[in-house]
Each structure stands twice: as C-alpha cells, then as structure tokens.
Symmetry: C2
Subunit: 237 residues, 2 copies
DNA sequence: TAGTGGTCTAGACCACGTC
DNA sequence: ACGTGGTCTAGACCACTAA
C-alpha cells in the first residue's frame, strides 16, 4: 500500500504541474486537507514539506501555502538524475554509444575511489553521448561487479539506473558530486567532437546505496557549450 | 527560545563534526535520544531528518542511524551560500573590490529579470573577487532598492547577506540557480585576470525572500580553473 | 478575533534486521 | 523475540496574518 503522505504529495504535485492550482494561488489550508484526505494534520504536513523541498510551494505562517512558479525546464541535475531521465526532457536527438565494457580487478586509483579491496572485480564502462549526432558527453563508470553481475552492453546503452533499481532491486540513496573545468585530454579529443574547445566540464560523482555502500564512481565530461546545470536550493538554518 | 529539534540537531551535528561520534558508528537509537533529551520521538526524528538531509547520517531501518564520512571540503555552493561564508573556509588570501554601486530605474532586461515595474529603483552592484591577488571572480548584483535602501560600498564589500539578514531582518528563503560556460566578454577580459582563458563559468541566480518576493538577481563569472562546485544529493522518489 | 502554519506530545502499529 | 526505524493519529499550545 502506498504511503498516505506520499499519495497526498503526488496528488498535489500533479495538480500544480497541470496548473489545476496556478502559481500565486494558495493551497487549501492544512486543516482542510486533513479533512479532505481523512487523515491527521501531521501527515498532511509531511506531504507539504516534500512539496516545499522540491520547490512546488512556499509556506507562509499565518497565511497559507503559496504555489510557486514552475520552471519550464525540469532538469534536476542537482538531484540524482541519470542521463536517460535527463534526455527524455530534451527535444534533441539523443544517442548513447558503449565504447567499452570490461571487468577488471581493482587496483591503484580505481581501487582507491571505490574504497574496495585490491583485486575486487570492478566493471569499467565507457559511454559516448551524442546530441544531434555530435559526441559531446563522455562518461566513464566504475561499479562493483558483485552488485551488478549481469551487466551487458545492451543494458549499459539504455539506463543503468533502471536496471539497478527495477531489475536488481537495489536502492540508490544519495550521491556526492563535484563539478570542475579541466583541460581536455588526448583521449577526449580523439573520441569527442570538440571542435576548437580545449576545456571540458567534468562532473565526478560517487553514488551510494541505502546501506551506505559506495557502489559507483562516475566521471562525466561535457563539452562546455552543451553543459547546463540548474538547481533549486533552500536556505538552511 | 530555541526550538527543541533544532537544538538536538545542532548538538548531534557538532558531535559528528568534532568526531565525538565517528564515521561508520551508529547514533544512539531514537528511543534513547528521546529519553536523553526528555522529549518525544517525533521531535527527535525531526532533528534526525535534518541530519540526513545535510549528509551527516544515513538511516537504516531495523539497524539505526550511521554517521557518514564527513567531506573535508565544506563548500555547499549548492545550498545558499554567499561568497564571504564560502571564503572563510578557504585558506587563500581573499579580497573583495566594489567596482561600481549605483541606483538606477529599472528598464529592459533588468526590469524583466527582477519582475518589477518599469522605473522601479534598483541597485546595481559590481564586485571583483581576488584570490591570492588574482581577479578571478566577477559578480554583478541587481537588487530592489526598496528592500535595502541603506546599501553602501562598505556593506557591499563585506557581506550583503549578513546585512540583509542581521541588520534588516530580511529572511532569505530560496534560490534558483543556473550554471553554464560562456565566452568571456570584452568587459570581463578588461577587468579580470584571465590570462589565456577565453571562457568563463557563469552562475546566474535568483534569490527569493520568505514571502516569495524576488529580491536579488546575480550573475557571477568565474575563471574556470578557480571554479569548483560540490553537492550532496539524495535520491527523491 | 478567527484562521493560518509551527512546534510538540504520547501513544499506536508496522516493516525490517539481528540474534 | 526483540530492538530498530517508518508511518500515522488526535490533540495541545504557540506565533503570525488579516479583517
């Protein structure tokens, strides 16, 4: 059974997305929602907290919950979103090419970043992303073989996240990311369509499961003109 | 009086930061914390939720709350953090130069991004940031005069956020940000120490108050080698 | 003054992990 | 079987906004 607060969140989020409730309007009061959903106020408040965190509403003490302007561009790169999820919201033609997939025994750098024992089997996956037939993103993934033993080129060409979450039942929980700009390496210049670009935006991320296992390390290189990152952030404290 | 859940959060966060409780260890159980702080379990859980959101802990059903590895680099650029708060955590020499501060009547682009009436008085502020005597960051701010009438060069050289929040009692609530890479303009090349860099990382952000007023629009240009962005993100859904 | 959201409580039952 | 966190309840009191 779906959780109550999740159901309330989903319903209200949908009403905001479809503009049944428009930006600037107030949501029904917490007491009204409590009655409408035949639940307790704390449960309603959990749903509203989620809406607030995700930028749907702003709560105003003494007034109510205002619906915020929806951004046209749902690119939550700041959250945990994979390339496939991302490309769905882009109009351009998108293509993924698996340039290499192999299983190695961890050593050196790879062993260090994945924090595993020397010799642990690790998948190394290279993927080239084409937008409108231009190779503008180059991803290198390292993941523990143990957790995704049946990985194939076909799966890798689709969405790894789908496979992990839906096929294997793994729960991705959180990630740490870093974004920097670096010089393009010889390999990057050889494999990507860089034109005269000499630098790349590099996104390095470590992905963790719910049990805090570090499971995947990714380095994603973007041609600068094709890189865009949007974020919604609340002031903490 | 400080809120109870906030107090519990502060205390536990401190114990984690100072490594009284080390990474990998479990926090006391929710029931234990409930007793220790003489409160209810829901209140403890609010504090733990904050810790989880901010990357301090990971909750494991049936087990407890594990303390996560603390990143050495507390650069929450992803949250809402101002340059001054940021520079405090950097070892380098940091300097801010106000290159221009004026109050204009809004028109054209500025009026559009701030979503105000034509002719509304708006502060325009330009600041150059030097790290180790190199001008590597160039900020342009636009803010509603009405909300910060007493702005001076001295305040702008310090921290605008401090002034707004502590002096004026304004509550900054949330922001929308965009990060892209763009060609350096002639003005940028003239005022910044760019060396041979032709491109800049541009962070555009809109800052909103608690009453959802759009209050500030900022364009921050960074020399690519001095730009770094780190993020902790939880998987939603 | 009435209605709103913000905090807090004491208890219940469930789902999961460990032993 | 026991302890853990996850969800939910019904109610209380407070702080703020608006009429």
């Amino acid at each position: 059974m779906e959780k109550k607060f999740q159901a309330i969140y989903d319903l209200l989020a949908k009403e905001i997305q479809t503009e049944k409730i428009k930006a600037g309007q107030l949501l029904p009061s917490e007491n009204e929602l409590t009655e409408r959903f035949m639940t307790s106020r704390e449960t309603v408040r959990k749903a509203l907290q989620l809406l607030s965190q995700n930028g749907y509403i702003q709560k105003l003490q003494g007034k109510g919950s205002v619906v915020l302007e929806q951004d046209k561009l749902p690119l939550p790169v700041s959250g945990l979103t994979s390339f496939k999820e991302l490309s769905r919201s882009m109009s351009q033609k998108v293509e993924t090419i698996v340039t290499s997939l192999s299983c190695e025994n961890a050593h050196g750098l790879i062993q260090q970043v994945l924090q595993c024992e020397e010799g642990t089997p690790v998948w190394e996956l290279h993927r080239l992303r084409k937008l409108d037939n231009e190779a503008v993103i180059y991803d290198k993934d390292f993941l523990l073989n143990e957790l995704a033993p049946g990985l194939t080129e076909e799966i890798a060409g689709d969405s790894i996240y789908d496979y992990l979450e839906q096929e294997l039942g793994l729960s991705i929980s959180y990630a740490k990311k870093e974004v920097v700009v670096e010089e393009a390496q010889a390999e990057d210049k050889a494999i990507m369509d860089l034109g005269s670009y000499q630098q790349l935006v590099v996104v390095r991320s470590a992905v963790y499961l719910e049990d805090t296992t570090l499971f995947q390390y990714t380095e994603s290189k973007h041609r600068p003109d094709k890189f865009r990152f949007v974020d919604f952030a609340r002031r903490t404290k």
